[in-house]
């Protein structure tokens, strides 16, 4: 009996230790390696790389640009996302779920695809503008190759992010608080100004911080829109340095990645500081309040909202699609020039591109599966087995996603540049280093829905299994996992979508043979082959949209708020 007890306990302890080990490997180790490089560059005490990085005027120009587009993009995203959230949540507009589904799509499309789509829409070769006869002459500059262009696209990309957070906050707004204001004699605008918006401050501030971190960390948009105009932000500066200098400049770009990490952290800390200053806690939860009637304004507001969908989603996607059908750059689209050859080329003829489909598919499936398997025991420990250190575990799992992707990419490079001591593992320049970075970065996307799923399940279900004699691993398999699986799997789908056309991390980690779809799109566009880039992009958008609709079918089995695109 005692032997058996020890054996069982040993097994459970091993499970817990294993989960902690994995989180540490994916979070603490790379971050530690990065900090180590800044303190002790290339193993020796030297301040040369630090000085080199900080004395370069390019560093400070890029920092200034990062702040410029970061703040500009954030402001636009917050303005857009908050207004849409208020309209959708508080008024009686119709067609809400279709609108939400479509409005959230830009968030799920990779930034470089968004960038490409908009470039195709407004460029001199734009098939849409050509069809309308409004195209600028060939050779003229695309108006999006500018600071304003980057800010505009960042706002479009992350507006839905703000929308989702503010919308979640508005859903929790108790009806009584609004009704008390109205019955106190306040008009709708007064209630909005004095009750609703103040109570939404934490959501809006949180969304602002998240949008800021996403904007300054974004690589795809400034890469497509900024590099041609020689307008560099920190992530694109890091990319250019690394592409030009190779591993020799790693110490220097480590400093740059730290700089962008600090800017992102400053955003998060500012949010924390502001939301602590006042008490915004909502004491009760109840039904959502009755929508404000828009009356005769309703068709007008609805038209405006759908116009937004047309501008931020339909036109760019149509532009992208039409470009993918054109035989060559600048050729007007008509019955004679329309072709599917671009699709055939990228899928079958171009070796790197067809390899990239397989690579990205395997990488995203592997990352999603891994995250789903790890997320359940990890979330279990964070929610149902709380100790003083479990919230720290949650924070560590969040870190590689919260920090800009370049930071993680540089940390991974540093970690695996030389074979790992003792084990002799050598994954630099292989697909495995990308997989490592994906696992680290996307784990949290499955962890979050699992945690919120477990919060909605009564813990006595597990305790009942415990008194029935089931040990931890058995309970995990027969009780916890089946109960929380829908939420976790939805997270897995989210990971697949995000990883499938990911660029930021793989742009810094890929090598010949381990190209990803994101990298191939980027290379085609840089080489001037927009038509090929567009063809691949259309395929990824189609896959993303198909997966969204597919998971929607299972939505009734999911805890609320797991599928971001479902209202």
């Amino acid at each position: 009996m005692t032997m058996q007890t020890e054996e069982r306990q040993g097994f459970d302890t091993a499970l817990i230790a294993g989960v902690i080990f994995i989180v540490a490997t994916l979070s603490v180790v790379p971050m530690f390696r990065l900090v180590l490089e800044i303190v002790l560059p290339q193993g020796g005490l030297s301040s040369a790389p630090l000085r080199a990085a900080l004395s370069s005027s390019a560093t400070w120009t890029a920092t200034w640009h990062s702040l410029q587009v970061g703040i500009g993009g954030t402001l636009l995203a917050v303005a857009l996302g908050t207004s849409v959230a208020l309209l959708v949540s508080l008024t009686d507009v119709r067609g809400r779920s279709a609108f939400v589904l479509l409005y959230v799509v830009p968030l799920l499309i990779a930034p470089q695809v968004t960038a490409l789509a908009w470039l195709q829409l407004f460029g001199p070769a734009s098939p849409v503008l050509k069809l309308l006869g409004m195209a600028p002459p060939l050779g003229s500059k695309n108006p999006l190759y500018s600071t304003t262009g980057i800010i505009l696209l960042l706002g479009v990309q992350y507006g839905p992010l703000v929308f989702l957070i503010v919308r979640a906050g508005l859903r929790k707004l108790p009806r009584e608080l609004v009704e008390a204001g109205l019955s106190g004699g306040a008009g709708r605008w007064t209630v909005l100004r004095t009750v609703i918006l103040p109570l939404m401050t934490p959501s809006i501030i949180g969304a602002t911080a998240l949008a800021f971190v996403s904007c300054v960390g974004n690589f795809g948009i400034p890469a497509f829109l900024g590099i041609p105009a020689n307008y560099l932000v920190l992530p694109t500066l890091i990319y250019q340095r690394l592409a030009g200098g190779g591993p020799a400049v790693l110490s220097e770009v480590a400093v740059l990645s730290m700089l962008i990490g600090i800017i992102a952290m400053a955003g998060i800390l500012a949010q924390d500081y502001i939301s602590r200053r006042r008490d915004y806690r909502i004491a009760s939860t109840s039904l959502p309040s009755a929508p404000f009637e828009l009356g005769r304004w309703r068709p007008f507001v609805e038209a405006l909202m759908w116009l937004l969908i047309v501008v931020v989603l339909v036109l760019p996607v149509v532009g992208l699609f039409l470009t993918s059908l054109v035989s060559a750059y600048g050729v007007p689209l008509n019955r004679k020039t329309v072709t599917l050859a671009n699709y055939g080329f990228v899928m079958f003829d171009h070796a790197a591109a067809s390899r990239a489909f397989l690579n990205s598919f395997s990488l995203s499936i592997a990352a999603a599966l891994f995250a789903v398997i790890i997320a359940v025991p990890l979330a279990y420990m964070i929610t149902w087995r709380q100790r003083w250190w479990t919230s720290g575990l949650n924070l560590l799992a969040e870190l590689p996603y919260a920090l800009p992707g370049v930071v993680l990419a540089i940390a991974s490079l540093l970690l695996f540049l030389k074979p790992l001591p003792i084990v002799g593992l050598h994954i630099y320049n292989t697909i495995w280093i990308i997989l490592y970075a994906y696992l680290a970065r996307f784990l949290v996307l499955a962890l979050r829905p699992t945690i919120s799923g477990l919060h909605q399940i009564d813990r006595s279900l597990e305790e009942a299994a415990q008194v029935a004699g089931a040990r931890l691993t058995y309970r995990m398999r027969t009780i916890v996992f089946p109960l929380v699986a829908p939420a976790t799997l939805a997270g897995g789908v989210l990971i697949f979508m995000t990883a499938f056309s990911e660029l930021t991390v793989s742009a810094l980690l890929w090598a010949s043979g381990s190209e990803t779809i994101g990298v191939v799109i980027f290379s085609f566009e840089q080489g001037g082959d927009s038509n090929y880039a567009a063809a691949i992009s259309v395929l990824t958008v189609a896959i993303t949209f198909f997966l969204m609709l597919l998971t929607n079918l299972f939505a009734q089995h999911l805890p609320t708020g797991v599928l971001p695109w479902r209202d």
């Binding site: 009942a464 004699g469 058995y474």
Partner: protein, 357 residues
């Protein structure tokens, strides 16, 4: 089957003492209710016995084996203790039979025997033929019975009930009470039954442990609790006893002594070692107050609650308006709010002086 011994158990959470030096001995096959207002520590006690929480001090012994002590905590899965949860805690992704047979599957019982025992357990709770249903398709009472079957299928040494009737409506409660009583009679299992409903505890338990603010205040039979409450808290918590100041006029004789209460003398029940004092507290039940035509204690009627066939009268003595009295007035006599009348206290119980430890 096994007895349970809780010896001097203390449980502290970071901010407060959930249990302080609780000792409780439950005989093999006994039905014990743990009764107390919310926050008294009864749920903590249950979770300690089940093994979900660790004790800070003291020991818990089940069937002669130490299960909890500061040095040792046998995990819940090895305690062979059954629990019937307040919300049933049936697994929604399993059928009724899978729910009931879970512990057998864990114990690797062969399939044939497992099915046999599942059928047996379902028959015991009158749910024969319900094996293929899902918990979601059952009524509240049926779910409770599945939970009961799940718990008894593994023949646990001890069964813990965590407020099992709190989620059921009033009609169902009475029939489930019968169910639990007959379950206990049939199986002879030792049962610890947590509840905040004293009527439920009185109806079911051999003995009741009354808890208050993390302390065990009295552990006695239902009759003893009612007739001889150990403290003011028990007196007022059980059947809304009135606690009144009194003076003990005579030493106890044959467990009775003369008492002056509200300026009137009467003979009260008391402990044989009751001392004479001017600062005693007595417990008086509604049935121990009657109205009188002449003499008696003048009271003002504060509130009349009609109860069918009679009324519950709430009143305050004219010379002590801060005290609250209540008694039943059978029809056809009537009293109106604000009216003055006279009453007499016929008997009562002298609450033992709390000895400062």
């Amino acid at each position: 089957m096994a007895g349970l011994k809780i010896d001097n158990v203390t449980k502290t959470f970071t901010t407060f003492n959930a249990l302080s030096n609780v000792s409780l001995e439950v005989a093999n096959g006994e039905f014990v209710a743990v009764l107390g207002p919310s926050g008294c520590g009864k749920t903590t006690l249950l979770r300690l016995v089940a093994g979900f929480e660790k004790v800070n001090d003291g020991t818990i012994t089940v069937g002669g084996k130490i299960m909890s002590s500061p040095a040792l905590n046998v995990p819940p899965e090895l305690r062979r203790v059954g629990i019937v949860f307040q919300n049933y805690a049936l697994w929604p992704h399993m059928t009724v039979a899978e729910n009931v047979g879970y512990s057998l599957k864990v114990a690797k019982v062969a399939k044939g025997e497992r099915e046999h025992r599942i059928d047996e357990a379902l028959a015991l709770v009158d749910l024969k033929g319900y094996g293929d249903r899902r918990p979601a398709n059952l009524s509240g009472g049926q779910r409770q019975r599945v939970a009961l079957a799940r718990c008894l299928v593994s023949a646990p040494s001890l069964v813990l009930f965590d407020e099992p009737l709190a989620n059921l409506d009033v009609h169902l409660r009475a029939s489930m009470e019968d169910e639990f009583a007959s379950f206990h009679k049939r199986t002879g299992t030792t049962i610890i039954y947590i509840t905040h409903d004293q009527a439920e505890a009185m109806a079911l338990a051999d003995r009741i442990a009354v808890m208050d603010q993390g302390h065990l205040v009295q552990f006695a039979t239902p009759r003893q609790l009612y007739e001889e409450p150990a403290t003011e808290m028990v007196a007022s918590f059980i059947a809304q006893g009135m606690v009144l100041p009194a003076e003990i006029l005579s030493p106890p004789e044959n467990k009775r002594c003369r008492v002056q209460v509200l300026g009137q003398e009467a003979e009260f029940r008391c402990r044989p070692d009751q001392m004479m004092t001017a600062a005693a507290k007595v417990c008086v039940r509604a049935a121990e107050i009657e109205t009188v035509e002449t003499g008696g204690i003048a009271v003002t009627v504060k509130r009349v609650i009609y109860r069918g066939g009679g009324a519950r009268i709430e009143a305050a003595p004219a010379h002590r308006p801060d005290l609250e009295l209540h008694f039943d007035l059978p029809d056809p006599r009537r009293l109106e709010e604000g009216e003055t009348t006279a009453i007499r206290v016929t008997s009562g119980w002298v609450i033992p002086q709390e000895i400062l430890e």
